[in-house]
Amino acid sequence: MNALLRHLVVLPIIVPLLAGTLMFFLAEARRRARVALALISVLTQLAVGIALLYLTSDAAPYIWPEGVGVYPIGGWPAPFGIALVVDRLTAVMVTLSATVALSALVYSISRWDRPGQPFHSLFQFLVMGLNGAFLTGDLFNLFVFFEVLLAASYGLMLRGGGTERLRLGLHYVAVNLTGSILFLVGVALIYGMAGTLNMADLAGRAAALAPPERALFDAGAAILGVAFLIKAGSWPLNFWLPGTYSIAIAPVAAAFAMMTKVGLYAVLRLGTLMSEYETLGAALFYIGLATLATATVGLLGAKHLARLVSYSVLVSTGILLAALGLRIEALTAPILFYLIVSALTTCTFFMLTGMTDRTRQTNPPVSPDDDVGITPAYVAYGIKKPSVYAADVDAGVAIPAVMAFLGMAFVCCVMLVVGLPPLPGFLAKFALLATALGVAGSSPTPIAVWLLCAAVLVSGLAGLIALSRVGMRLFWSIATRTTPRLRLLEAAPVAALVLLAATLTVLAGPVNRYLGSAASSLHQPDAYVRAVLSLETRRERPEAKKP
């Protein structure tokens, strides 16, 4: 049984890979089979994520005693082969990405996934890339999974066609290709100096480097950091983000909510593992503050809801980076909690924008239908150009009291983004600020803590102002409003995520305890390093007995 449970680690990568590939063999007409396959795959990942959460916790010490599970692919010992590593942070992230993926998938079934041939496969590959990036213990493998995730995201982002989408898609692809090149340069420099790409092995070898090599190693780490910051959307590398996220169709944007978190995860993981935390931290704080400041200005200037939500993604990135930059170990648990809450929030909000857009059909800011051209792919495959804004088809179960539902969902989302009680947005920000202020007295830079607090509060206020303005326009100006027909399938994921958020408030105690243990194991990477590298010795022992 325990031997079988060890294989759980590889499932979040294998399952979406298989599901996504199998879908290529299903004809376009077999939509039900494809949807069933996609749902089974995502539900499996969610189950595996929850199982990993349990198995890495202290409650189940019989498989991975120190909460770190290592899965050597192909049985090669750790520094030579590629290892998948699961610890508490990874388990949290895998569960979070499965949750986001499940809601975005259910939402997309209602109207967005036609024609479904590329959509569902790409969606599975996106999730596979996310899970792989969280699970891998190898730097180059991290690059490969980043590319898997980005390649899928290019296809998903361009969905729906239209000139505006193509233009922003071109920028998105160009920026991320440049980011990938920087990633490779960083990885190559690190390999050239340290002679290994295994993250656990790097932790030891980086410290032992001689000064001239150490300088080049640091340069490599910094270039790698820039690549991660592009993905995370930090200033000044984030001008592509609001346009890209707001033009992508709603379920895709909702799934993208996890993508910025991958960059943050990588910064957190490598930062704590390679003890680069000290040198890079100070810069991170100011980068984070600058991100927060520009995003706040963007929030106030944005007119369309999807664009506003994109800026709120940047706000959360800014808060997280600035808080990481303070280099206070006690802050890591609140940072993780805020990360979870903000991922769920933006996912919910993006799904909501897909519905509120239809209340103003007379004046959608950028309707995908406004162009007369035909994208080459549709011509090549002989598919009629699909229209997500076409008249509501009378299929599926509609929900009653549409405007009341939309209004309630909007209010909940605003409370989550801005951080008002009783939803966990408040708890997350409160925990962050309270912890930061608690250690401000003993901190070497109390002024930085105060700066962070002021910035978080001001950005919250700006968010409230901007969102109320958009809300008034959306719900109270009756003149140009039409009431759309909402299906149960698109309303349910939004309601479910809001309920999940409410549950997070109730269960904030246990969740924070778990995140606290995740944070403390992050700051004592010895267990991680030992678990990964001990595979080598475990393998050598039987050989030593032979002669």
Binding site: F140, E147, L166, L170, V173, L184, V185, G192
Partner: protein, 118 residues
């Protein structure tokens, strides 16, 4: 050999960056290509340059004789370069598709989809 190699990478990367910052989509594409060539060479160089050094240990090791590892090339960067080339090729092809689609829709090859004067 090192200085020629380094100069080659430098010229490729510099041309790549310059082209990347140009306003025409095809120039951006060529810039990305040159940059990825420079990166691939750089990864290869990080395994240290060596002539006539095989990346695989030969029969001497199998026979149990002691070998001098400095006589062998590092195989890892070669494997990394191969992966990077494949991934770069695929993503560049995708960029090309977007480029052509945008050209077809807007009738211009400016990266913003319209001429700056228009």
């Amino acid at each position: 050999m090192e200085i020629v190699y380094a100069l080659g990478i430098g010229i490729l990367a510099a041309s790549g960056v310059w082209l990347l910052l140009r306003p025409r989509t095809f120039q951006v594409l060529m810039g990305l290509l040159l940059l990825s060539y420079a990166t691939n060479l750089f990864i290869f160089g990080m395994g240290r340059l060596a002539q006539h050094a095989p990346p695989i240990l030969d029969a001497a090791v199998a026979a149990g004789e002691s070998v001098d590892p400095s006589k062998y090339a590092d195989p890892v960067p070669q494997a990394l370069v191969l992966t990077a080339i494949v991934i770069g090729f695929a993503t560049t092809a995708l960029f090309l598709v977007v480029l052509l689609a945008l050209r077809g829709q807007t009738g211009t090859d400016h990266v913003d989809g319209r001429e700056p004067d228009a």
